[in-house]
């Protein structure tokens, strides 16, 4: 599995390091704390994210799982008053270090949001925008290739190949979300963060997104936040359960759902609260 990871990311600066220690996780978080003003939203979370498995964050509303997800590509920077403490490493480099370029970080750690948010531009432009601003494809033919490949990987190519000039906002909700995934893939990220990507979609569109996540596993390290426990069970190999700003339990998804160690995890999974 790890061999595949390496071939998917030939641009990785830490290729040598990773080869020496193949078990090394893609992202490592240690004792991450986030506070908004006085209130502490996240009280020390430590977790490892690997490329060969999809990691799901579950937990009731307000438990801090989205907050933590947004730490991983520093989207919390945009929230006034948010302070992040602790250590988050991407390939062994501290993403909060002064020499880390946040623009580059977000290209390497892509994000898909809860509500599909395509740009009000053409489908082609939606996908091509990222590669263009990062200078990943200079010639028109290269860009066409990147757009097609990204849309194919997002499972959207056959549905939109004849109307690439149409507005991205004219697609259905599920198609829009897959367009957003294609847009994230287009910049060739190493990690994709998904913040409840299917919560605004109907069951059929949700199933397509879940299939897509399974297809993308191994190529990208995927972290998905979800409210839907069946979804977590279906798509993820690792699951972390959050409650009231702490990570209560983290382990193999099968283990968490069948044999949780913590009473709170068991109560949540069996529907006592949520």
């Amino acid at each position: 599995m790890n061999e595949m990871t390496l071939s998917a990311n030939p641009n990785s600066a830490n290729l040598a390091d990773v080869t020496v220690t193949p078990e090394r996780p893609k992202m490592t978080a240690r004792d991450v704390r986030v506070s908004y003003g006085e209130a502490e939203a996240l009280k020390g979370v430590s977790i490892d994210v690997t490329t060969d498995s999809v990691t799901a964050f579950i937990g009731p509303s307000g438990c801090g799982k989205s907050t933590f997800l947004r730490c991983l590509n520093r989207m919390n920077d945009t929230i006034p008053g948010a302070r992040v403490k602790g250590e988050i490493l991407l390939d062994g480099h501290d993403i909060n270090a002064p020499d880390m370029d946040v623009v580059q970080l977000r290209a390497r750690v892509g994000m898909v949001f809860q509500k599909p948010n395509p740009f009000p531009k053409s489908i082609y432009e939606n996908v091509a925008y990222g590669p263009r601003i990062h200078g990943l494809a200079s010639r028109k033919a290269d860009m066409d290739g990147v757009v097609e490949q990204s849309l194919r990987r997002a499972g959207l190519w056959d549905e939109v190949k004849d109307r690439l000039a149409d507005s991205g906002t004219a697609l259905s909700g599920g198609q829009q979300q897959r367009l957003c995934i294609a847009r994230a893939i287009a910049v060739n990220p190493e990690v994709i963060l998904m913040d409840e990507p299917a919560s605004a979609l109907d069951p059929i569109a949700t199933a397509k997104i879940e299939e897509l996540i399974d297809d993308l596993r191994g190529r990208y390290a995927i972290v998905i936040v979800t409210h839907n426990m069946q979804q977590a069970a279906r798509v993820s190999q690792k699951t972390a359960f959050f409650h009231l700003g702490t990570m209560v339990e983290y382990g193999d998804t099968r283990e968490i759902f069948t044999n949780p160690k913590e009473a709170r995890t068991k109560d949540y999974i069996t529907g006592r609260y949520g």
Partner: protein, 439 residues
Amino acid sequence: MATELSTAAALRRMPLSAAPTSWASDTMQARIRKRYRQERIFKGLGVLALAIAGGFLLFLLVTVIASGWNSFRQTQVLVPVTFDAALLGVTAEQARADPRLLSRANFQGVMASSAERAFGDDAELVSDGAWLALREKVEADPGVIGRTVPMWLIATSNMDQLAKGRIDLEAAEGDRPVNDAEVFAWRTLEGEGKLRTVLNRTFLGSADSVDPELAGIWGALKGSFLTVIVTLLISFPVGVLTAIYLEEFAAKNRWTDIVEVSINNLAAVPSIIFGLLGLAVFLNVLNMPRSAPVVGGLTLALMTLPVIVIASRASIKAVPPSIRDAALGIGASPVQVVFHHVLPLALPGMLTGTILGMARALGETAPLLMIGMRAFLTSVPQGLAQPATVLPVQIFIWSDNVSRGFVEKTSGAIIVLLAFLLTINSLAIYLRNKFEVRW
């Protein structure tokens, strides 16, 4: 938790009537009738308000157009002009050899003698400024010197008003601006077909004058145009960049709060205060030229800035945050987010604010009076630093004039101002719709 429980308990204790609500009862029917009545009254008031507003607008347009459309017509008199070489001081040969001699030629004398020969000296029928037409004639063909040519010349304002039927002939001779000889001359000329009414090129093509028949709107129109261009070029970029900085980049703290409150207050400052500011800063400190469109434009830009900043901030706020997240999420820098995504989506709203600001600037008089743009100017401004006036100031100056012929000029200038405003606004609305992104 305790409060939740007690609320639930209180809800359970609340008595509920056992019988179902009787919707057909008289009291219920009365309630329904009352509600429908209230809706009818509210709708009626709305229609009434609309009718009143429409009525006022119609009244304004009808009165302005009724008294103003005459200013676009000009009365001309047919005069047999004798280009006497001796009186003119230039012969045809001399004029051919050196056309510059014509600038010193006595065209006024030629015109006066021709008019006197034709109509006698009791009645003044031809405008003092009509000699310009004579010069143009000779410049075009010096061969007319020494011949007599019939020419249509601009009539005096009194003749013009007589021909347009705007002078009460029932009044005693002393109470009306024209004497009996002029009325007689008018009747005679009218009968002989020597009076005609044509499109008023003088009004549309020249600047102000002491004579109503020679006064034109073009100088003020061009002055307005130059001034508004300066205002737009200064206030739109500065206003939009200010709004972008405040909304997207500035930290939210006490200082930005103070800036925000100040901008909101500036939008409510009376415009004459901005005129004083322009006078103090641009004229007295920076020694810029008095009465110039560049100073007028800068002063109006100060006045318009807060309006554009407020409108632009509102339209930036209206751009969904999800678009910013999307762009940031694939690694766009904050400047790229603004210029690739936020600005294009906010532009229609910004343009709306700019239209409002420009319309206000175009109709503004008071601050321009302070910086000397109410000067009496008989030449059309040729540049941004030359003395100019603007349409509303021209209207103000003419409305102050005692001469009867200026009444229609005032209304005519109002029509031109409204047409100018409509043109600019239509253009801006067209641009806004072009930029509008359909979701």
